[in-house]
């Protein structure tokens, strides 16, 4: 059985989306900037119609949507674009569990003379609001807190954060790559000034995305050139990508409720089944979590081997293990919620999607315990980390 359960990483494109995109490769291939002839106008129409879909999905106006190449570009544009504009404000507030596209951008800004405060989260991954308020300074240029975390699935109190930001006159950015199309978003109600969206997380094509830029919010562009997208993002528009993204988001919003309920049921079944494994637990918030996210830890297991074993059994999943990361660093998110490093290695993320069925969930519930057992068998640790635990305890005393 082939079971893809890594939808937080990327998703297949919905066949209805591919169908909408197809005419824009070989027939309506015009450049939207060439609106003096028909084939260019067709492309322009497609782009603007998609803009309306994206705007409608989040209660924005079409003029507030800027198309990008994806979530990473969006986060960079929103954050650098704000930071580099106002020379007097040199402080940025983020949470300690942001995606790399926010974290690394802020690390770069630090090198450019910015100060960055990382607000801690509780053991469920929820941002500490009073710490957030305390972090605010006169020269705070931006607050950026993700809508939902891509690893543990925790949904942040965005409306409250939006209110805090707006009360303090600070621009508020949220990275909604994991939530758009999965949970309702209303940029007005949530007081959001800037928001990042990505297409390939919601059954749209890779290489597309958008940022919402509230009317009146100014940004320094990342790409200079022909002045496309209200001068905020030059470059020939990726018409099929934009069409596909708009369609995917529209479909996801239309089907959000029904699919969300279905996924929640599947997710809870998965969680119940997996937690029967000894020395395992669930990470992230028990209720305030993405309908499709299940995130576990298993003691004495290293995640990369677990993912490989799952792959041998046709199952695709993710882990926050250091061994699986290109930098050999264990997940900063799992550290932020207080997990010791040796436990971070044993993490498993299963994120559900449209094609997943109850049978698939049951298959995973059947296969995983055997994998865990086999790996624990190979491991020198079965009951505890033995001498290491005492050594660590010793270390901590210093």
């Amino acid at each position: 059985m082939n079971v893809y359960m890594d939808h937080a990483s990327t998703t297949p494109v919905d066949p209805r989306v591919v169908e909408k995109m197809m005419p824009y490769f070989m027939e309506k291939y015009g450049n939207p900037s060439s609106s003096l002839y028909e084939i260019g106008r067709e492309a322009r129409k497609a782009v603007e119609e998609s803009r309306v879909k994206v705007a409608s999905a989040i209660n924005a106006a079409p003029g507030e949507i800027i198309f990008t190449s994806g979530g990473t570009e969006g986060d960079n544009l929103a954050i650098k674009g704000t930071a580099l504009l106002d020379k007097d404000k040199k402080h940025i507030i983020i949470s300690s569990i942001e995606h790399f596209s926010v974290l690394s951008t802020c690390d770069w800004l630090k090198k450019q003379g910015f100060e960055v405060t990382k607000v801690p989260v509780d053991r469920y991954g929820v941002v500490d609001l009073s710490e957030l308020e305390n972090a605010i300074r006169k020269d705070t240029a931006l607050i950026s807190v993700m809508h939902a975390n891509n690893e543990i699935g925790t949904i942040e109190p965005i409306e409250e954060i939006g209110r805090i930001a707006s009360d303090n006159g600070i621009i508020f950015h949220t990275n909604a790559c994991q939530t758009a199309g999965r949970v309702p978003i209303d940029v007005r109600k949530m007081d959001i000034d800037l928001m990042t969206l990505s297409s390939h997380k919601i059954y749209g094509p890779k290489g597309a995305g958008a940022i919402f830029v509230r009317k009146g919010t100014r940004l320094e562009p990342l790409f200079h050139g022909g002045g496309h997208e209200r001068k905020l993002r030059s470059g020939t528009e990726n018409v099929p990508g934009i069409v596909g993204f708009g369609e995917a988001l529209d479909l996801a919003c239309r089907e959000m409720r029904k699919e969300g309920e279905r996924l929640t049921r599947l997710r809870d079944r998965l969680i119940r089944g997996i937690l029967k494994i000894e020395r395992s637990w669930l990470n992230g918030h028990p209720e305030k979590r993405l309908p499709n996210n299940a995130h576990f830890c298993f003691k004495f297991i290293e995640g990369e081997s677990m993912i490989l074993e799952l792959d041998f059994n046709g199952i695709s999943g993710g882990t926050g293990s250091a061994c699986s990361s290109p930098t050999l660093e264990p997940s900063h998110v799992l550290s932020a919620i207080g997990l010791p490093k040796e436990d971070v290695h044993g993490s498993l993320r299963l994120t559900l999607g449209k094609q997943n069925t109850k049978e698939e969930v049951d298959y995973v519930i059947e296969v995983l315990p055997k994998i865990i057992e086999r790996l624990r068998n190979i491991s020198p640790f079965k009951e505890d980390f033995g001498e290491y635990e005492s050594a660590l305890a010793h270390e901590h005393k210093h």
Binding site: S35, R41, R44, K45, E48, E49, R51, V52, K53, A55, S56, A57, I58, N59, A61, P62, P184, D186, K189, D250, C253, R254, M256, R257
Partner: protein, 145 residues
């Protein structure tokens, strides 16, 4: 919370393209060509800017009885030239000089924002032609008196 995907928002295509009406005027301009012995001429624009309009009028009894244009420029310039000749024909000079750039733009069902200067040109050309006529007439009556 309400999921607002169903909100219907309409797109303002005039940001991107000409109205059908303007295209129609551009393709089939009325009153196009040079006029022999006009009573008044209005010339506006400059080839370096890409738009030049010549507007010719014939006046009888303070009324525009004939009007013609010659235009070097974009579709908006040609289309608004054509439409203003249609609007002005038969009007008294006082009526005609009240035509504004907005009247012109409305008459072609709107213009892309960056093309609004073309409707300004058209309205200015008409005003200049009327002025020219009045100046000449003034001179003539000066001569008579």
């Amino acid at each position: 919370m309400k999921v607002p995907w169903h909100t219907s928002i309409s797109i303002d295509w005039s940001d991107w393209m000409y109205s059908d009406k303007l295209i129609e005027e551009f393709r089939n301009p009325k009153n196009m060509g040079k006029m022999e012995n006009p009573d008044g001429v209005g010339k506006v624009g400059n080839p370096t800017c890409g738009d030049v309009m010549y507007l010719y009028i014939k006046v009888n009894d303070d009324r525009i009885v004939d009007i013609k244009f010659e235009t070097f420029g974009c579709a908006a310039a040609i289309g608004t030239s054509s439409i203003i000749t249609e609007m002005a024909k038969g009007l008294t000079l006082d009526e005609a000089s009240k035509i504004t750039k907005q009247d012109v733009a409305d008459e072609v069902d709107g213009l892309p924002p960056i093309k609004m200067h073309c409707s300004v040109l058209a309205a200015d050309a008409l005003k200049l032609a009327i002025e020219d006529y009045r100046k000449k007439k003034g001179k003539k009556s000066d001569m008579k008196s």
